[in-house]
Structure formats: C-alpha cells, structure tokens
C-alpha cells in the first residue's frame, strides 16, 4: 500500500459531504468518467460512487416482537395473514421469512403452482401500513398462561420490527438456460426448452458487489440503502465465497460474495420491499439495496468504473446440470451482451431475459446519490472486513 497516486480517507470524504462539496456519481456515470479520464483522474474528481440493485432476493425476512397481550403468552406457533412465522426465539419474538408460503397454499400440487401469497407479501403489507392478522397458539406456562391470541397488527404499533436478510446482494449470478425438451419453472424464471431463452439476474455495472469485487471498501458496519431506508451490512451472507475464478480485472465469473444486511423495517418504503410469486417455484421478496463506494484511491475508482463489457457470467443449464450439481458451463458472456437482448449459445441465437430490474437499480443509485449529496447520509468506516476480504486502509499513510 502507499503506492497510490490518490489517497483519501473516509473522514475527508465525510467532511466534504458535510460541507456539501462532495462529488457523488452513480456507478453508471462512473463507467463513463473512468473511460474518459482514466482511474487516477477519476479518483481525484469523484468522492463517492453509488450502486443499486432491485431484485427478488431469497434469504430475506424480518424479526418482529409483537408485544405481550394480557394475560401473557409464550407463543409456540405464529401465523401472519396465515403465513407461518418462526416462533422458536422467545415468548413474543418471531422471524417471518420471505419464501414461506401461506399455510393452505396448494404449492405445486397442480403444476406449476402460483404461490400467490407468502412471507414477502406479509412484509410488504406491513411496510405499506396495512393491517396484518396475527394468530398465535401456546401450551401455557405459569408465567405465560395464555394459550391462544388473535389480533390485528400494524407496523407502526409493533414494539420492534427489523428487516434482517441473511443473504442479499449476490456478487454476480449465473445466466440460466434450459437444454431439455420441456419448459422449466425455476427461481431463475421460466426457461423455455431447447435454450429458448437465457435468463440473468444482476444489474451488471450498477450492482453493488460487482463494483468493489474484492470488498476493499465494503465491510461489517457499512451503511447502505436498504428497502428505502438506511440499513447496514452486518456480516457476510450465507454461501459467501471469495475463493472464485476471476477475470484479469478481478471480477468473479460465478456467484461469489454475499452480504447479510439489516435495517429498521419501520423506516422502509413499500416501493422497495415487494412480495413476489414465482410460477412453479415459490414466493420471495424483491429487495432494494444500494451501497455507496468511497473512492479512496485509483484502484477503487478503476473497480467502480468497470463497465458491462468488463463484467462476465457463465451460462448454466438448469435442466440437468444445475439440479445434479454438475459444474459445467456453456460459455461466458458479458453483461453488455446479455443486455443487448441476444446471446450466442451452442451456435444458436438466444433471446435474453432480465429478472433484476435495471430501471429500479438505477433509481436506487440516484436516491443514494441524493442522500449523500444533501448530507443526509454520511459514509461509514467498516469495523472489520467481510471474512476472506481485506479492507483498504481508510487513512492515507503519512510519509
């Protein structure tokens, strides 16, 4: 370290934000800036780059404490609008997971199932200010005698509600095709037979972890945009993996790092927390997430300026290979190719289908940019790196 031409600290950047002088651009704008003036000049000019993603993100959910009724209850099983919540935490603490279907859902009995309502929809309804029906049953104890409880809850009246997503912001994801004879209904969307379409699920050059591929600025404690409010990175997410094959520019070819994130549900906006239904697969929740990247030096600038042409993913067959755990791919494509609408797979032209909203990802990057420019959000120095990552020093070394 210490070999950088430009070196800034988070504190210096925050000082500029406080004075309203910080130069904040979105990741899309940074792509153009780095192309035009190069990473060193870009690092001199730009203080913060904002990213964004809005996509169904399984492994999301909320911790809720619903408060004690009188007489008190030690809830044993709990349902929110008929969707089971996990009650094995404490007397009135529950966790509602995004992919839990409503209890009497016909699931895939008549295939493909529609999965119209689930945990993600409950969380959206709460955030939208709607009343949600809570039912709890218990076995009764001396301290908590009640055996049944039914009530209507609203987010504003809940004593505590926190969104806590064990795995979000996947750094890169597969491009899915189907080489079988029949239509497949997957978490990667509907895949028509004989590679009829190729589905992909990240925002490419706007996607948070693709713009800091080694997690050199994003760490435990980083303040982010989460569901329309300010939230935090609290740890690595499940399935987090830094040990992957990368391009010569450092970007993983495959799914790699993930984040566990947390934020106050009460401050969130229903536009950015939306229940989703995936035909034949299940329900989930689209989560809006954006991370600001402090441009500490030219290396951070170079990463943040990576374009869709420089970010790649592999094409994976979801008919045979994926369900059987076979590590094989049918080539590598750039996000620029994916976004063009057509790619070549096995010498055939295949239309591409995005599953992640690029329009909304851009909107998040813009909102985050506004917050920082107006001084409504300052950047944070992580308290520790994400496992497997190494943070850049946040203070310039004095010579």
């Amino acid at each position: 370290m210490g070999e950088f031409k430009v070196q800034k600290s988070i504190e210096e950047i925050n000082e500029r934000i406080r004075r309203g002088e910080a130069v904040v651009v979105t990741a899309e704008e940074m792509v153009r800036i780095v192309k035009e003036v190069g990473p060193v000049e870009a690092a001199r000019e730009v203080d913060v780059v904002t990213t964004g993603t809005f996509s169904p993100m399984c492994s999301s959910g909320a911790f809720i404490n619903f408060g004690h009724p009188v007489p008190t209850i030690k809830a044993y099983r709990v349902w929110l609008n008929g969707v089971p919540a996990y009650a094995g935490l404490a007397a009135v603490d529950i966790y509602i997971g995004a992919t839990e279907p409503v209890e009497d859902d016909p699931l895939n009995k008549v295939f493909p199932g529609e999965f119209r309502y689930g945990g993600g929809h409950v969380i959206h309804d709460l955030v939208a200010g709607k009343k949600v029906h809570l039912r709890a049953i218990a076995y009764g104890t001396h301290c908590y005698p009640r055996k049944e409880y039914e009530t209507e809850i609203t987010l504003k009246d809940l004593p505590y509600a926190v969104l806590c997503n064990p795995r979000n912001a996947y750094q890169n994801y597969n491009c899915a095709i189907n080489l079988s004879e029949r239509t497949l209904y997957t978490y990667m969307g509907i895949l028509r037979p004989h590679a009829g379409n190729a589905n992909y699920a990240t925002a490419g050059q706007l996607s948070p972890l693709l713009k800091d591929p080694y997690l050199k600025t994003i760490g435990i404690g980083t303040r982010i945009f989460l569901g329309g409010a300010k939230g935090y990175v609290i740890y690595a997410g499940t399935q987090h993996n830094m040990n992957v094959k990368r391009t010569d520019k450092g970007v993983p070819f495959t799914p790699a790092a993930t984040l566990m994130v947390l934020g106050n549900l009460k401050e969130m906006d229903p536009r950015w927390i939306v229940g989703t239904s995936h035909l034949g697969y299940g329900c989930s929740m689209a989560v809006g997430l954006g991370i600001p990247i402090p441009i500490l030096n030219e290396e951070v600038a170079r990463y943040a300026g990576l374009s869709d042409e420089e970010i790649f993913t592999q094409i994976v067959d979801y008919a045979y290979d994926y369900p059987n755990g076979i590590k094989r791919n049918y080539g590598v494509v750039s996000y620029a190719e994916l976004k063009s609408g057509k790619i070549k797979v096995l010498d055939k032209e295949v239309p591409t289908v995005p599953l992640s909203s690029y329009v909304r990802a851009r909107e998040i990057a813009e909102i985050l940019k506004g917050w920082i420019k107006r001084g409504e959000m300052l950047l944070t120095e992580p308290v520790a790196p994400i496992p497997g990552a190494e943070l850049f020093p946040f203070r310039p070394r004095k010579q």
């Binding site: 016909p106 008549v110 895949l191 689209a286 289908v353 995005p354 909203s357």
Partner: protein
C-alpha cells in the same frame, strides 16, 4: 390470477343440475356470474368469469362440454397495472408476440396492447402480478 370470461348455454336437460357448484368443488375454481337467464325453451344462458389454476380451468371447461354445455369465451384484454410493474423483465420470457419487451438502452419493460394476443401467459409469469385480464366490455 388466471381468469376467463365465458358465455355458457345449458341444454334444457341439465339446467337444474348443480353444475357451477361442481366447478367450484371438483375443480377448485371460483366464479362471478355476470348474467343468467332461462330462455322460454328452458335453455339456460349464463355469462360468467371463471378463475383458478389454468389447468383446472381447462379441465372444468372440458367437464362442461361433456355435459353438452356450449362454451364460448368472451373477448378479453390484458391490462398492466403500471404502478405495480417493477420493470424486471421476467414476463418477456413467455410473451409470444413481443407485446411485453425490454426497451434498450433504458431497460424499461414496455407493454404495447396493440401487439397483445390476450394469451394470458404473462398473468401468472409476472412476479408481482401486474398483468390482469379484463373482459371486453362490449361483450357483456
């Protein structure tokens, strides 16, 4: 939810049978009767909306036809709830006519009703259920 608008013509022999009830019970469908009359010849006519799983809807229609009920669909149009659509693009995997398509470079998902064949595939393919079936008003 998948929905179909239908005009059913019941022959006199079956008019008094609990056919609609069987649709609900055996095929897990729900219905909304928009009009029902018994003609002087004792033939019944019913205009209804039938909704449920697409497979069950077609099985239910099969059941009706086997009873000698004449089944005609009412024209329907597909409508997008703009405030619900998140512009993800998932629906473009199934739209056969290109009525739902990604516009480049903005990556917005545009819906052109003129190109829509009302096949209904997008209704359950849309992850946030932004696409809806509306019956053509003049048919009622």
């Amino acid at each position: 939810m998948y929905k179909k608008g239908l005009v059913l013509r019941f022959p006199a022999e079956v008019v008094d049978q609990p056919i609609v009830w069987r649709l609900v019970k055996d095929f897990d469908l729900s219905f909304n009767i928009l009009k029902a009359t018994i003609l002087p010849g004792k033939e019944g006519i019913m205009v209804m909306e039938l909704s449920g799983h697409p497979k069950k809807v077609s099985q239910g229609l099969e059941y009706l036809r086997n009873l000698g009920v004449e089944v005609k669909s009412i024209g329907q149009e597909i409508y997008r709830k703009e405030e619900v659509c998140i512009h993800c693009g998932s629906c473009t995997a199934v739209c056969p006519t290109g009525a739902l398509a990604v516009s480049r470079p903005s990556m917005e998902v545009v819906f052109e009703p003129e190109r829509c064949s009302a096949c209904g595939l997008c209704v359950t393919a849309c992850v946030v259920r932004a696409m809806e079936v509306h019956l053509e008003r003049e048919a009622l």
